[in-house]
């Protein structure tokens, strides 16, 4: 549903602060724990939730998210179960937008039409599918838009002025600026470059521009939030899950609270962001 996403960004704009967008892997390390994590995110300060769909071959992800996906698959997670996670979450939260993020093959295997119908019913607001560039819009992007589901595109440092209009053409919800070339979880690049890139994209679109790849601490979140409409945190959350597990990669009593604590800190950073900008 595009309405929920648009309302969330409009409200945040009125509030005068950037969004905190939190990524976690569905089913990591098991269904019940990841449902607990998902339910805890809004209370800890997440404004938008990115729900990772595990894939056996995550070609654009670094070790942290790779391992999270493998743990989820080992725990029996499937695309159908990831949709169940969203459905369960929606029973208690009608306001927080959910974006499914992952790779195309599990969706293609599930069947695009069936997937979009189930996603709508489960309360999904948007999709990020890493291996579907604009050249492949007929596959999923256009069918998703026709069903009123946002298709959120990644822009990267290699997306030059010539390419930007192509990338933005069928993008809705927000633009996800990946602040560096490379895989998820790599080091954070120069902040002034990020601000420049965000402004460059904003010259081409009215959509919110959110920035991710490399954000780990409240200070990062604060700094990036000063320049962007949203801050995406992924690998740091997934690493927090990993750090809380026992020797057999099973959840412990503090897995959910470890994530909440991190997100609460990041939320403080995001809420302080515009104070920095105003200085």
């Amino acid at each position: 549903m595009t309405a929920r996403m648009d309302k969330r960004f409009a409200d945040l704009k009125a509030e005068g602060r950037p969004a905190l967008i939190t990524y976690f892997m569905g089913g990591d390390p098991d269904f019940e724990t990841s449902l607990g994590i998902m339910k805890a995110l809004p209370e800890a300060g997440a404004d938008v939730i990115e729900l990772g769909m595990p894939f056996s071959d995550p070609m654009a992800d670094g070790p942290a998210i790779q391992m999270a996906g493998f743990r989820a698959l080992a725990g029996g997670q499937t695309l159908a179960k990831t949709l169940d996670l969203a459905r369960e979450f929606r029973k208690g939260d009608q306001a927080t937008p959910i974006v499914l993020m992952g790779y195309y093959n599990p969706i293609y295997s599930f069947g695009v039409d069936r997937f979009l119908d189930e996603a709508l019913k489960a309360g999904i607001d948007g999709l990020i599918v890493v291996d579907l560039p604009p050249e492949m819009d007929d596959e999923l992007c256009l069918p998703a838009i026709a069903k009123d589901i946002n298709f959120i595109r990644l822009a990267t440092p290699t997306t030059d002025e010539k390419r930007l209009p192509t990338v933005l053409r069928n993008t809705s919800g927000f633009v996800y600026y990946v602040s560096m070339n490379g895989i998820t979880g790599s080091a954070l690049p120069d902040l002034s470059q990020i601000a420049g890139a965000v402004n460059r994209i904003k010259a081409h679109t009215d959509l919110p521009v959110c920035v991710g790849f490399g954000v780990k601490t409240a200070d990062h979140a604060k700094a990036i939030g000063a320049a962007a409409d949203g801050v995406v945190v992924g690998s740091a959350i997934v690493a927090q899950v990993a750090g809380s597990l026992d020797a057999n990669d099973q959840a412990t009593s503090h897995t959910i609270s470890a994530v909440s604590t991190l997100v609460r800190g990041l939320a403080t950073g995001v809420r302080a962001a515009r104070l920095v900008a105003a200085e």
């Binding site: 599930f110 604009p134 050249e135 030059d160 070339n181």
Partner: protein
């Protein structure tokens, strides 16, 4: 969805979006798209540039040793008592396999594009060796990603790559085979997109790779066609080649696709048999999906998770296949059959003893199919098989399987 009308020509693909029917395409992260489009432009220019073609041909003749001979396997033919068996001997190429044909072409492109660094993935190590070789020849640093399992079972090739100055990075994720090596190479490419050229070793990946690799490998089929006309005054009745990703096979097949009289057979790795999970027969036992930049037949579970394959041959140990093969399967132009590990091993031994040629385990799969078919055919009929690699790299694996101490 897999029923396709017979086209006017089987050689016209891909279309401008890189599609062979529903297969192929460009399923890559946005970071790579500008580069993929640059590569496509450069490839389109190079294709028709006489200077590029002349350089390619010169290196083909003087560096690779082309044309490779076409050899009548007289003793094997007599032993099997049926069709005449010819081998296209790409195992005699510099570096010992057909892989060098593609690597020379791609490094010339990398040079045209001003790239400073070469990366490659490898399974058996043949493509890694060929990439390390051309990188040395053109003075570029080279990083080869290789599954940790393959590093172990293909030790001689790892050593060769290191001697050639390449850095070999063992990949431990997944089963540590070719699929995982390709994931890791793609991760490197996304990170170093500005200065790095990725030499994909097979006719798969995002457009324009499948077409480009096919064109560089088609030299095999073009030469073989001429050599067969010279030797026999006619075309062969049957072509046979092994398919992992499928680059040697498409190289042999493509120039013959529109010759209706030529039956074409691709041989997949049947591993320990198709009733279990331990095989790599994606065209026989898989279904269409999207991986590594293209839509193609894949071994996958009900949830669309890619399975780990198994083959005695590291070069065939891949759960996918080049997209053009998927299309050729659906339109019915090429027949794809599985050959099991033990059949390939028996063929390996037979060729060694009857012809004095030690084949790689990959073409040993093709040979096992030839051994099945030749006796059922007339003595006037001709089978042409691509002997795409030599077996030096496999002697330790084979020795172990046969219980011979080395």
């Amino acid at each position: 969805m897999n029923q396709v009308l017979k086209p006017n020509s089987f050689r016209a693909g891909p279309d401008e979006d890189g599609r062979f029917g529903i297969y192929g395409g460009r399923f890559v992260a946005e970071t790579l798209m500008p580069l993929i489009l640059d590569l496509q432009d450069e490839w389109n220019k190079a294709k028709t540039d006489p200077t590029f073609q002349a350089e390619l041909q010169h290196l083909g003749t003087h560096y690779i040793g082309r044309p490779s001979p076409m050899y009548f396997a007289e003793r094997l033919t007599a032993e099997l008592g049926g069709a005449k068996i010819y081998f296209k001997r790409d195992e005699l190429n510099h570096t010992g396999s057909h892989k060098i044909n593609n690597c020379i072409g791609q490094i010339l492109l990398a040079k045209r594009m001003g790239k400073k660094r070469i990366i490659a993935e490898t399974g058996a190590g043949q493509h890694g060796v060929a990439s390390a070789t051309v990188a040395a020849r053109f003075g570029l640093p080279c990083v080869v990603y290789m599954g940790a399992t393959d590093v172990e079972r293909q030790a001689p090739n790892v050593f060769r790559m290191k001697l050639l100055g390449a850095e070999v990075i063992p990949v431990t994720s997944g089963n540590g085979t070719l699929k995982d090596a390709m994931n890791e190479a793609l991760r490197d490419w996304v990170t170093n997109v500005e200065d790095t050229y990725y030499i994909i070793g097979t006719a798969a990946g995002p457009h324009p790779y499948p077409e480009m690799v096919r064109e560089f490998q088609s030299v095999i089929g073009k030469e073989a066609r001429e050599q067969m006309m010279e030797a026999e005054g006619r075309l062969p009745d049957m072509l046979v080649a092994a398919v992992g990703g499928g680059s040697n096979a498409i190289g042999l097949f493509h120039p013959f696709l529109d010759d209706e009289s030529v039956r074409i057979v691709g041989v997949e790795a049947g591993g320990k048999g198709l009733d279990g999970e331990e095989h790599c027969a994606s065209l026989t036992a898989g279904r269409p999906g999207v991986l590594h930049g293209n839509r193609t037949y894949l071994l996958q579970d009900d949830d669309g998770q890619i399975k780990e394959g198994h083959s005695i041959s590291a070069g065939l140990d891949y759960p996918g296949i080049g997209p053009e093969h998927s299309w050729l399967r659906d339109v019915g132009r090429v027949e794809y059959v599985p050959i099991k590990d033990d059949e390939a091993l028996a063929a390996f031994q037979m060729l060694t003893r009857t012809e004095g040629i030690i084949p790689a385990l990959e073409p040993s799969h093709a040979l096992a199919e030839v051994i099945k078919r030749a006796p059922t055919m007339d003595k006037e009929q001709i089978i042409l098989m691509n002997l795409c690699g030599r077996g030096d790299k496999d002697i330790f694996t084979v020795g172990k399987l046969l219980g011979m101490g080395l």
